[in-house]
Symmetry: C2
Subunit: 358 residues, 2 copies
């Protein structure tokens, strides 16, 4: 690992777009803040005051793979934890082209006009290869990015979805401690990323398009079942009729799904993110949801369950990695898979043999 | 473990109902076969000739927790494996009261009339407590049980679904080696049992009732997505109209599901198992399915993937059990879960701490 200060990700000015917009701070103060080296305690203090540069820096510590940074990150997290209970975490998914960025731009700007502080994070396991296929280009949210009460952070890179997931979950805690009360977590349908985002959010919103065979195409198995709402975007102009038809069709289909543990009945909404239509209605729905699940105690119960789930998930991932990355196992695994393909051994006998190697 | 012969499950006459029906064998020969102690090789030889008593005995070896029996079981399995490629494995699920037993009785009898040999197995993880809530009472299939070409076996007991799953998967292999070419695997909606059965079968059939709000009640999340067919049972008499309405509703809903990897488009069928109506049509559908997925190569690819899945599943279960059953971990886990509940630690920090203990 390169320990030279000049090469550390922490010294890159990653947070320029946000920092530019801390309207009350002079450029001079920001510059001196950036140059200064902070202890974890100082960073937490700034972060709790809502300083976005401190927030960005703390997230960079979380994302770092350097041991020293991880230790600092843990100190910060522990202090930030008690302040992370008042937000709502909203997952937003949809196939590419459905208008996620435009929706977040429109929805986020609306929330800020209502006095909310909005953080936008992303979970994109492909970003370690493509360097961020979503949210990488902040210019797609050109109004939101200028808002002092908005914080936008691209997907962390990570060698695995597990790594990306952990970094995002811990970033949520920091955003909340910094006073952001609506956390939007964007994801794109890659691998298990939607399931991952679903298990770290309170409300899960599926964006869709009407017509053009979209009902049938591109929806991954299980996504509709996870959704707390289906929002049909681009419901404007010539699309309007098709969007209304799709709404009817989906509303009918949702009735066939089993009841949710939250007691919440998912509904279908129309919107045009481009024309800012239907946005207020969606926020009203989410507010209704929150009221309902706070009353029936599901809200906090679910967060507790999510935390426990992630603890088990982290442990189980580690146990598997340790086993499958063992060199003896790696070699023997190939042989056993071949025997299974040739129908020369049973799954159980192969497993037993491999387990005997460690 | 009790090693006295008199107490071994292998010496119980578990297979009486089937054995009674081996029409060509004299009672004398069966009795002497039962009394004799067989080597694994002899058992395999008998089993490959289609001897149901030998099959029952071999399955009992698989189900045994005694080490000696497990060794014999492994020898038998290895020899049986090459003969297990020609069957079709059909999973059948549905809530209690939907008529699974009546359906299997009717469907199985029809298949036998078409010259098939039919094995009926069950996966019921609750059976270790309740001693078999499904298939426990064979009299519910009173015609099928008398057929020489039918083999019926209740759910194995097991301390976990994983244990039940392994025993059932290996029993499938033995049934196939004994010449059974249609394997019906019944399950009831307990925990993850449907997912388990789905991942060991070629075709997954969801039995349902029409009307009475059944569309909304009792379907577990994900089940409809796994189904290759929804069969609405008890579509007779006064139920017929409601059944037809339900068929329409489900057909429409299925269109909203994403395409299956197999390329197969699931459909909805009506049947009255009681009146033997619609049964032939269901078999035709499954035959069409088989033709289609053999042509597009999905059939064998899927079985290979299932075998690999089960190997990984077995390994991962073992790794987890070993970790969580460690006494130090057990104690510390309780503390960490409490800290998570009190929001005093993160999921990741708790996981890291627990992993440091082993």
């Amino acid at each position: 690992m390169n320990k030279k200060e000049g090469k550390s990700a922490l010294n890159e000015s990653k947070n320029k777009p946000e920092a530019r917009n801390i309207s009350n701070a002079s450029a001079q103060r920001i510059r001196s803040f950036r140059k200064k080296k902070f202890s974890a305690d100082e960073l937490v203090e700034q972060l709790l005051q809502g300083n976005k540069t401190a927030l960005g820096r703390a997230i960079t510590l979380i994302e770092s793979n350097q041991k020293k940074h991880q230790q600092q990150a843990n100190i910060i997290l522990e202090k930030a934890l008690p302040f992370s209970q008042k937000s709502i975490r909203i997952g937003i998914t949809g196939v590419p082209g459905v208008g996620k960025s435009t929706f977040i731009e429109s929805f986020g700007s609306f929330l800020i006009s209502k006095g909310k502080k909005v953080a936008v994070l992303a979970v994109d396991p492909s970003s370690s290869v493509s360097h961020g296929s979503i949210l990488g280009d902040k210019t797609r949210m050109e109004n939101l990015v200028k808002e002092p009460d908005a914080f936008i952070r691209p997907s962390p890179s990570g060698d695995s979805l597990g790594g990306v997931a952990r970094k995002t979950r811990e970033s949520i805690v920091l955003c909340e401690a910094a006073g952001f009360d609506v956390i939007l977590i964007e994801t794109v349908g890659v691998g298990q990323s939607e399931t991952t985002v679903h298990s770290m959010t309170d409300f899960f919103l599926l964006l869709k398009l009407s017509g053009a065979g979209d009902e049938l195409q591109g929806i991954k198995r299980g996504i509709v079942e996870m959704a707390d709402a289906i929002v049909i975007n681009k419901a404007d102009g010539e699309n309007l009729k098709a969007a209304r038809d799709a709404k009817l069709e989906f509303s009918r289909a949702l009735q066939l799904y089993p009841a949710k543990e939250s007691g919440w009945k998912p509904s279908v909404k129309l919107c045009s993110a481009l024309l800012n239509e239907g946005i207020e209605d969606i926020w009203k729905m989410i507010s209704d949801f929150r009221k309902e699940v706070e009353e029936n105690k599901f809200f906090f119960k679910n967060r507790q369950e999510q935390n426990k789930f992630w603890m088990y998930q982290t442990i189980n991932d580690y146990l598997k990695n340790r086993f499958y990355e063992n060199e003896t196992v790696k070699k023997a695994l190939k042989e056993q898979l071949k025997l299974i393909e040739e129908n020369k051994t049973t799954a159980f006998a192969a497993a037993k043999y491999l387990l005997s190697l460690t």
